[in-house]
C-alpha cells in the first residue's frame, strides 16, 4: 500500500525537467497529478527509482483560445477543464468528459497530460482526444515535435512518448459543428468505463474496446455514406478487440459499443439541432 523507495526531484522549469530525465534515463518517471502513477506505485506494479515532480511548472497549466484551436497545457487539471468557460463554449465534449473522470478529489489533482501519457484505453480522455483529432506537442532533448492523436496511443499503457520526452501541450481543433456526445457506461458512477463512446460531429472514438482508444472507423464510413445513426452504430464493434473481465464478456462489450454509439450519435444530432 506504499510505494517502494524512490528519490524525488522537483523540476523548476521545463529545461530542468528535461535535464533531470536525461540524467536518470529509464529509472525516472514524470509526476504530474500522480493519480495514474501513484496508485500503481502503491500496489508496487510500478517501481521507478526516480520521480520528477512537474507541479511547479505552472506555465504548463492553461486553456487558451488560439486561431482554429484551443491550446491546453499538459498540466491542466481535469477540474479546470471541467469548469472552463472557454471549453464549455468551444469544445464542450472535452469539458463534459473531464467532469466524468474519477471523482471530485481525483479531478482536483489529475491532469490531461498525465492521463494521456499514461495510455490506459479504459480512461475517458484518450478516446475524447482521439475523437477531437487533437495534436500533442512534445518537448525532448532534440527539441519540440507534434504527434497526431491518431499516432499517439500505441498499445496498452504505451504511447509515442519517448521516456526522455515531456508532453507540454494539447492542441484541440475547434469543432465545426455543435454535435457531440459522451456515453460512459459503468456499473457504479465511480468505476472506469466498461465501454465508452465519444462523438464529435461524425468522429466516433471508443473507450475500453481495444488495447488503445480507437476510432470506430466503420461507423464513420457508414455515416459518410449516409447511414442513419443507429444503422451506422451497428458497426461500432468492427475491428475492436474488447477484453473479458469481471464486468463484461467481449460479446457484451461489443453489444454495448453498438448501443452506446447509436445513443451518442443521436444525442449529437440533437445537439447539432
Amino acid at each position: 500500500m506504499i510505494p517502494a523507495p524512490f528519490t524525488y526531484y522537483r523540476a523548476a522549469s521545463v529545461e530542468e525537467a528535461l535535464a533531470l530525465v536525461a540524467e536518470h534515463g529509464d529509472e525516472a518517471k514524470w509526476l504530474a497529478g500522480g493519480h495514474s502513477l501513484l496508485p500503481l506505485m502503491k500496489l508496487r506494479l510500478a517501481q521507478p527509482e526516480v520521480l520528477i515532480d512537474l507541479a511547479p511548472l505552472r506555465e504548463l497549466s492553461y486553456i487558451r483560445d488560439a486561431p482554429g484551436h484551443v491550446a491546453i497545457g499538459a498540466l491542466t487539471r481535469h477540474h479546470d477543464l471541467e469548469h472552463s468557460a472557454l471549453l464549455a463554449q468551444a469544445v464542450p465534449l472535452l469539458a463534459h468528459a473531464a467532469g466524468q473522470v474519477g471523482d471530485q478529489q481525483i479531478r482536483h489533482r489529475g491532469t490531461l497530460g498525465g492521463s494521456l501519457a499514461h495510455g490506459d484505453p479504459a480512461s475517458d480522455l484518450p478516446a475524447v482526444i482521439l475523437a477531437l483529432d487533437a495534436t500533442l506537442v512534445v518537448r525532448g532533448p532534440s527539441g519540440e515535435r507534434e504527434i497526431a492523436a491518431a499516432e499517439f496511443f500505441q498499445g496498452l499503457f504505451e504511447t509515442a512518448l519517448d521516456p526522455d520526452e515531456l508532453l507540454t501541450e494539447i492542441r484541440v481543433p475547434k469543432p465545426a459543428g455543435a454535435g457531440w456526445s459522451f456515453q460512459k457506461f459503468t456499473k457504479r458512477a465511480i468505476d472506469w468505463a466498461i465501454v465508452g463512446v465519444a462523438v464529435q460531429g461524425t468522429s466516433v472514438a471508443l473507450v475500453n474496446m481495444a488495447s488503445t482508444p480507437v476510432r470506430a472507423s466503420a461507423v464513420e464510413r457508414a455515416l459518410a455514406s449516409g447511414a442513419p445513426p443507429r444503422d451506422a452504430a451497428a458497426h461500432a464493434a468492427d475491428g475492436t478487440s474488447p477484453v473479458e473481465d469481471i464486468n463484461a464478456t467481449p460479446d457484451y462489450r461489443e453489444h454495448l459499443a453498438r448501443i452506446l454509439a447509436g445513443r451518442a450519435l443521436e444525442e449529437a444530432a440533437t445537439r447539432a439541432g
Binding site: K42, L43, Q104
Partner: protein, 162 residues
C-alpha cells in the same frame, strides 16, 4: 527530504522519506489522526483533506507534493473559538455519521463540494460524494446533512450581506 507545509494554520516541518504519503505525514508526523486510511486504491475517500482549499485524497498525494502548500484536516475545520463548521453542525443534526470512520473525509469532501457548488441538487450531492464510501449510514442522512448545510450557509451569507 525536508518537507514543510501549513496544516490547520500551523507550520509543520519535518525530515521524511521521499515516498511518505501525505496521509501518513499528517497522522504520524503532524500527529493528526482524524484523517483515516481506508483502502489502497484511491477508492474510499476516508483520507480526504483540503489541499489549498480543494478536496484531495491524501493517500494519493506525496508529502513532498504538499511541501509549501496549505492543508486542512477535520481537526482544523472548526472556527478559532471552536465553533463547528456548518457542515459539521449539519452532520450532527441529521445523524450523518455512525461509526465515524468515514466522517472526517466525508465532511471535508462536502465542504469542498459546497465551495464549488453552493446550491447543489440531491443528485449533485450524491455525484459529488461518489469518491467517499460509507458503510454505516446508507448515505441517506449524509445527503440530508450536505443539503441542510448548503441552506444554512446560504442563510448565513444572506445575513452577512444584509
Amino acid at each position: 527530504m525536508n518537507v514543510t507545509m501549513t496544516v490547520n494554520g500551523a507550520e509543520v516541518a519535518a525530515e521524511t522519506e521521499d515516498r511518505t504519503l501525505l496521509v501518513h505525514f499528517l497522522r504520524e508526523t503532524a500527529g493528526l489522526t482524524a484523517t483515516n486510511v481506508g483502502c489502497d486504491t484511491t477508492s474510499c475517500g476516508a483520507c480526504t483533506v483540503l489541499l489549498d482549499g480543494e478536496s484531495v485524497k491524501s493517500c494519493t498525494v506525496l508529502a513532498a507534493q504538499a511541501d509549501g502548500h496549505d492543508v486542512v484536516t477535520a481537526e482544523g475545520l472548526a472556527g478559532p473559538a471552536g465553533q463547528l463548521h456548518p457542515v459539521q453542525l449539519a452532520f450532527r443534526r441529521e445523524h450523518g455519521l455512525q461509526c465515524g470512520f468515514c466522517t472526517p473525509g466525508m465532511v471535508l469532501a462536502s465542504v469542498s463540494l459546497l465551495r464549488e457548488n453552493p446550491k447543489p441538487t440531491e443528485e449533485e450531492v450524491r455525484m459529488g460524494l461518489e469518491g467517499n464510501l460509507c458503510r454505516c449510514t446508507g448515505y441517506h442522512n449524509i445527503v440530508r446533512a450536505v443539503l441542510a448545510a448548503a441552506d444554512d450557509m446560504a442563510a448565513e451569507s444572506a445575513e452577512v450581506t444584509r
